[in-house]
């Protein structure tokens, strides 16, 4: 199979996944009783506004709420594909797309940073643990890894908030410190934002780091026991060259192949940690939407997050196939 056919197959495989995910998101939108327009109208009335009957009819037709359920689904999808219209948030009285767009960038930014953090730290510790198997350092990092695995991101976020508030009198919550809130963009404001984001990255990255360490360590240990390593050592290759020439290259593969299942976890954790840290990403918005039963917002969030995860794992599969020919020929 050539690289091209592999790519095409992989793309085609993505389509049923995306369709299924859109169905699940739609089901979630439909779960609470009543459609969102009745909620919307009720909400407006409770605020004392009057909504014209024609307006309701027009919106009803736009979102197809007068049609049977399966048609509603197709209309929803059609609106997304044709107009990029994900529906309307009645709580914010804004199109969902507009609300999510602002925040999805920040969510992805934090997710990517914590993935990089997990990789960077996990890779080095994993290689160290494998090359120093059963040493004190190995046991120490294995133990730390267990702790990292057992601490969910939002616990770490809670603990960081507690420590920095009590001991450093510094509030890590929100995206900016108070004094930068109304300042226009400059380098200090950016640094301040990064400081706030780093807490979330740390909270999210630690769990991922723990699993990366385990994978790299196991993979490298398997590789180091292989005959070609022994041969190379017997021929007098330096330990350094011996390690970096092949075994490390082999051990990098799982870094890429784990993206597929690390990403859902990171986005899950990101939502939680951002809620705790009050960072304006999609997480807090999603929770608010669920609490207010603002279902178009909630369903669209699930759709977009899952699509991002699928695209992420698609990219990782493509890179993996590109650097490791065995996968596309296998």
């Amino acid at each position: 199979m050539s690289f091209k056919t592999y790519l095409i197959r992989r793309f085609l495989f993505m389509i049923p996944l995306l369709i299924l995910i859109s169905v699940v998101s739609f089901v979630i939108i439909q779960l609470p009783p009543g459609d969102f327009l009745t909620m919307y109208v009720l909400q407006l009335q409770s605020r004392g506004y009057k909504i014209a009957q024609e307006e309701v009819v027009r919106l009803r037709a736009r979102y197809g709420l007068d049609r049977p359920l399966y048609l509603q689904y197709f209309i929803w999808i059609w609106n997304i594909i044709r107009y990029g219209d994900l529906g309307r948030s009645f709580a914010y009285d804004k199109p969902v797309g507009e609300l999510i767009r602002e925040r999805i960038m920040l969510s992805s930014f934090i997710a990517i940073l914590s993935l990089l953090f997990s990789w960077g730290v996990g890779f080095f510790i994993g290689v160290y643990s494998a090359t120093h198997q059963y040493s004190f350092g190995d046991y120490f990092f294995t133990f730390l890894g267990f702790i990292g695995m057992s601490l969910p991101g939002f616990f770490i976020a809670l603990i960081v908030i507690f420590i920095s508030l009590t001991y450093f009198n510094y509030n890590p919550m929100g995206l900016f410190s108070y004094e930068y809130l109304s300042v226009s963009w400059n380098i200090w404001k950016f640094l301040d934002m990064m400081k706030h984001i780093m807490v979330a990255v740390l909270a999210l990255g630690i769990g991922g780091t723990a699993s990366i360490i385990r994978i790299i360590r196991g993979c490298l240990l398997d590789e180091l026991r292989k005959a070609y390593v022994i041969t190379a050592r017997a021929k007098g290759l330096s330990e350094r060259k011996l390690l970096f020439k092949y075994p490390i290259r082999m051990a990098i593969n799982p870094l890429l192949s784990t993206i597929g299942w690390l990403l859902p976890g990171i986005f899950s954790g990101e939502a939680l940690a951002s809620i705790v840290l009050n960072i304006p990403t999609t997480g807090p918005l999603f929770l608010e939407a669920l609490m207010a039963q603002d279902m178009f917002l909630a369903g669209s969030f699930l759709l977009i997050i899952s699509t991002l995860v699928i695209i992420g794992s698609l990219i990782s599969d493509i890179i993996l196939a590109w650097i490791d020919p065995r996968i596309r020929y296998g």
């Binding site: 049923p16 996944l17 299924l20 995910i21 699940v24 979630i28 779960l31 609470p32 267990f146 702790i147 695995m149 057992s150 601490l151 969910p152 939002f154 616990f155 809670l158 603990i159 908030i161 507690f162 508030l165 009590t166 919550m173 597929g260 299942w261 859902p264 976890g265 986005f267 899950s268 954790g269 939502a271 939680l272 809620i275 705790v276 999603f286 929770l287 669920l290 609490m291 039963q293 909630a298 369903g299 969030f301 699930l302 997050i305 899952s306 995860v309 699928i310 794992s313």
Partner: protein, 371 residues
């Protein structure tokens, strides 16, 4: 002397040859010290969950109106430089006019010895047996090992009661996942072909949705006025809706590799029925792997319930779980001024850590090819 030495050697070796698979696993497992410790600690935690009514000094709903946000009560065993039975001091609450915070000052005049098997508030063990004997308590005074919350309820007692929901939700959830996972994974592996393709694509699909947002949306749809037990089971179903995927993958993989083994072919040739092959030959060969993966999936469920309850989407008060107790920590002022509301975190963390240690030990023990 030498003869005797040899004799012992042979019998030891014979013991290994004669031992069943489970005995071998157990011997190997016993060498894994962390896993053994983890097993003990988990045992204690589940014991606590079972007998929380007796172990807790107060009932979870008892609120001491005048004792709101009291810090943990220190226990003293030395009085006037002499060792005595454990006792606690009484305390006075007063306002510090420099910081404008309430301060709790121990009152050395008032000493309350801790009494064991103390007759305190009446309770019903498991809702069946009426009693009023608590493991410990103090007369006249109060004892709050982990402090009190915003309504003056004893956090220690509430944590013990919360263990009941937090620790069992993982077990019930995993039982559901296990049934689904074994059934669907087994079908996929045994039948192969289209069935395999459909089931495994379904697994791929479920795994690609971020779990917490999915759990959040599903549990947000649960009616808020449901009774606790109904919500409890709904939450376990939601948790296991995703939890079965990993188990299905393991089961399918094992079925696929076992299908080609000679002893399975032999069993088929002598005319064993499909059911007999599955229960007599398949199941025993991969049961250990299933146990390992079950142990490692329980923490996800416990953390899932904690996260949902923490966000207010899972079980609702008056239900008590560790996640619900943590809701208090959402308020920044409460958390910084009364850090003991974070103690439930510690219990969740220890439970999850112990399950991870246990799972790791079991994995090493169950793998015949490990060192």
């Amino acid at each position: 002397m030498e003869e005797m030495y040899e004799k012992v050697e042979i019998s030891l070796e014979e013991k290994i040859y004669l031992a069943s698979q489970w005995q071998l696993i157990w011997w190997k497992f016993k060498r894994h010290k962390l896993a053994i410790i983890a097993l003990w600690i988990l045992g204690i935690l589940y014991f606590i969950a079972a007998f929380c009514e007796f172990l807790a000094p107060y009932t979870p709903e008892t609120s001491f109106d005048e004792h709101i946000f009291i810090p943990p009560t220190p226990i003293h065993i030395i009085d006037d430089g002499k060792l005595t039975r454990p006792f606690v001091y009484g305390f006075n609450v007063r306002m510090n006019f420099e910081t404008f915070l309430r301060e709790v000052v121990p009152d050395p005049e008032k000493k309350y010895p801790i009494r064991f098997f103390y007759r305190g508030e009446p309770y019903k063990l498991w809702g069946l047996f009426e009693s009023d004997i608590h493991l410990f308590g103090v007369e006249d005074g109060v004892i709050f090992l982990f402090g009190t919350d915003n309504l003056g309820r004893d956090i220690f007692s509430r944590i013990l009661y919360g263990a009941r929901i937090s620790l069992t939700i993982g077990l019930v959830g995993i039982a559901l996942s296990l049934i689904l996972g074994l059934l669907l994974g087994g079908l996929a592996g045994y039948l192969g072909g289209t069935v395999d393709e459909v089931i495994m694509r379904g697994v791929d699909f479920l795994v690609s949705i971020p779990t917490i947002p999915l759990w959040m949306s599903l549990s947000a749809a649960l009616p808020r006025n449901w009774p606790i037990t109904k919500t409890y089971f709904a939450i376990t179903i939601i948790l296991s809706a995703v939890g079965w995927c990993g188990l299905a993958r393991v089961t399918r993989g094992k079925f696929l590799s076992l299908k080609e083994e000679d002893f399975i072919t032999a069993a088929r040739l002598v005319g064993c029925s499909n059911l007999r092959i599955i229960f007599k030959h398949f199941l025993p060969s991969f049961l250990s792997y299933i146990i390992v993966s079950v142990t490692l999936s329980i923490p996800n469920m416990i953390l899932g319930e904690t996260a949902l309850s923490f966000l207010g989407l899972g079980l609702q008060p008056p239900a008590i779980s560790w996640g619900i107790l943590l809701q208090q920590a959402q308020d920044l002022n409460v958390m910084t001024n009364h850090p003991w509301v974070l103690i439930p975190c510690l219990f969740v963390f220890i439970t999850v850590l112990m399950f991870n240690f246990l799972g790791d030990g079991l994995r090493d023990a169950a793998d015949p090819y490990s060192r």
